[in-house]
């Protein structure tokens, strides 16, 4: 009996990955003809990566980060500056990840020793500082004129400069980072992260080093945003500071809450809904800020597990079975 159950879950798992892969591959088949649609699809994948990182920080360890826009900015400018100066993208993107990981450690170290809201404060301040640096150090960053002409990378001689090829690069990154995140969450680390979120005092008592794991979760979350930023730069072929203002991080937070914070699929649902809904319904961006902020508040009060949580309800009530578990 137990064996059959195991088999079924592993079959489900294979199926889920197959669907995920199929969707990723079908997008260019469906939207490939339209450059703008491909751009939006690629952008959505980039944001999913960021929100996945944010989910680790907020959803799985219960810390707050208002610096994810800045982390993205660091990643984007690292890739932009390096590729414009002739270095390889494949060197630049890991460097961006390392830099943002280090920035995460440096920010987390002073603030995690103290109270919750200090981390919010320090990360928000960090966002402001990064924005000011990008805007004012124009000899390096180009200031508000930004850095144009960022090349798209090659992959072992294969050019990824077309929109569809570049989409596949981003999709591949998304796939690899998804697998990595699932692996992290199902590892010893992941269990420690969740233990901290549920009750940090209890976690500490059973021997989980709070500072180490909180720092780790925060820094990994930052590195995900750094990688996403590194993909954003060649996608837009242009970076400027206004793409990474401090309040952009609020927007990421809203994406995560709408999708479902602390739920693996939350990052995906949140980024997709928040990125795509305004594309279908016409309206000014600011109007959507209002709508999504209102939805976020309502969800927080009435349905804190977000849209991912609503899908549980669908499984239980309509399909009359347990919702699938992505992480242990």
């Amino acid at each position: 009996m137990k064996n059959r159950l195991l088999q079924r879950t592993s079959l489900q798992r294979v199926l889920r990955w197959a669907v995920f892969l199929a969707v990723l591959c079908l997008i260019p088949v469906i939207f490939g003809g339209n450059r703008y649609h491909m751009y939006v699809a690629t952008l959505t994948c980039v944001y999913i990566i960021t929100i996945m990182g944010l989910n680790l920080t907020i959803g799985y360890t219960g810390q707050i980060s208002l610096g994810h826009a800045a982390f993205m900015g660091i990643g984007a400018y690292t890739v932009a500056l390096m590729t414009l100066n002739g270095y390889s993208f494949w060197l630049a993107i890991p460097l961006g990840a390392v830099l943002t990981f280090a920035a995460g450690l440096l920010l987390g170290l002073p603030s995690l020793r103290v109270k919750h809201h200090y981390l919010a404060l320090v990360t928000l301040g960090f966002g402001t500082v990064v924005y000011l640096l990008l805007a004012n150090e124009y000899e390096i960053t180009g200031g508000f004129s930004g850095l144009p002409g960022i090349p798209r990378p090659n992959f072992f001689g294969l050019s990824l400069s077309s929109d569809i090829a570049f989409y596949f690069l981003v999709a591949a990154f998304l796939l690899v980072l998804t697998v990595l995140m699932l692996w992290i969450l199902n590892s010893r680390w992941g269990r420690a992260f969740k233990a901290i979120r549920e009750n940090d005092m209890r976690a500490e008592m059973v021997g989980v080093s709070l500072l180490t794991y909180k720092l780790l979760a925060f820094a990994i979350g930052a590195a995900y945003a750094g990688i996403a930023g590194g993909l954003l730069a060649p996608l837009m072929k242009f970076v400027d500071p206004t793409s990474f203002p401090a309040h952009e991080s609020f927007w990421f937070l809203i994406m995560l809450i709408i999708g479902g914070s602390g739920r693996f699929e939350g990052a995906f649902i949140g980024a997709i809904v928040v990125m795509l809904l305004p594309e279908f319904l016409r309206g000014t961006q600011q109007l959507f800020f209002v709508i999504f902020a209102a939805i976020t508040l309502l969800l927080l009060i009435f349905w804190p597990s977000g849209l991912a949580g609503l899908s549980d309800l669908f499984f239980r009530k309509v399909l009359r079975r347990d919702p699938p578990q992505l992480t242990k």
Binding site: H117, L132, L253, F289, V290, A294, L297, I301
Partner: protein, 286 residues
């Protein structure tokens, strides 16, 4: 020059102090951090501006704004948003107030105006002259009004019964509850007080900043820095922090760099957190 800069630093610092006191009151009564504090200022300033434009005399516009703020930003927000979330994690309330901030500022941008509006110079234009020293009316009156408000709050907390209940809740929630203090209504009262403070801060800051949907963002952040530097659980901490932030900001932008004035304040903040995590005048919390 030095005296003028000091006065202008103290004036902006007084506004920060008012808003920062709001932060400390909320923290002490309910352990909440209100990330929408700056947008509360925006909402109040916009309301006051609209009333003044409709021809309502300033003093009535202020009164109506204070009452409306007390109801909407105090009572309604506490009952509607904070109350349902109060038993959840700190992170949840922070996220909720961030969503609130996003909602308020963008709703003003969409449904009212995204333009800058010049608020009337309510304190007059002619500066005061004392020999060679020239002081802006705006600065002098800001300091005077802020001091009056701060004294009034202190008097309220020290001398009145609800004020003493607030102190009791701040010192020990459980003991206060056992002694029959209704924590929820004390918290509601504190939210209302915070809203009133913020409405006055809007009056003081609107003539300096322009009225715009995002005018409060920086202000709220600075006040938050101020409360943290001074000590999140002490009114006098917020006071000291407010004046410190105002003065650091004014002097660093005059003598060091305008572009990076926010960086200096942030550097002081991080230094304070590292050296004394409770803030300069804060006390250790359990």
């Amino acid at each position: 020059m030095f005296i003028q800069l000091t006065v202008s630093g103290v004036a902006i610092g007084a506004v920060y102090a008012l808003v920062a006191i709001g932060f400390t009151l909320l923290w002490q009564a309910s352990r909440t951090v209100n990330f929408a504090q700056g947008d509360f200022i925006t909402v109040s300033a916009v309301l006051m501006y609209v009333l003044v434009c409709m021809g309502v005399p300033l003093i009535w516009a202020l009164l109506i704004t204070v009452i409306a703020a007390a109801l909407l930003l105090g009572y309604v927000i506490k009952r509607g948003v904070i109350q349902p979330l109060i038993d959840r994690s700190h992170t949840t309330i922070i996220v909720a107030t961030i969503a609130l901030s996003f909602l308020a500022s963008n709703a003003i941008g969409v449904f009212w105006s995204a333009q800058c509006k010049a608020f009337p110079r309510v304190f007059g234009m002619m500066p005061y002259r004392f020999g060679s020293i020239v002081l802006s009316r705006q600065h002098v009156w800001t300091i005077v009004i802020a001091i009056i408000l701060i004294l009034a709050i202190n008097l309220f907390i020290q001398k009145t019964k609800p004020g003493k209940a607030m102190q009791a809740v701040a010192q020990n929630r459980d003991a206060a509850k056992i002694l029959g203090i209704n924590i929820s209504s004390v918290t509601t009262m504190v939210f209302v007080m915070n809203a009133v403070l913020v409405a006055f801060a809007a009056l003081l800051i609107a003539p300096v900043y322009m009225v715009r949907y995002d005018m409060g963002a920086q202000l709220g952040l600075k006040a938050f820095y101020a409360a943290t530097i001074g000590g999140f659980n002490q009114i006098r901490g917020a006071l000291l922090g407010g004046f410190l932030v105002g003065i650091i900001e004014t002097f660093s932008s005059a003598y060091l760099s305008t572009e990076y004035r926010e960086v200096f304040v942030l550097a002081v903040l991080i230094a304070v957190i590292l050296i004394r995590k409770e803030g300069l005048l804060g006390t250790e919390e359990r």
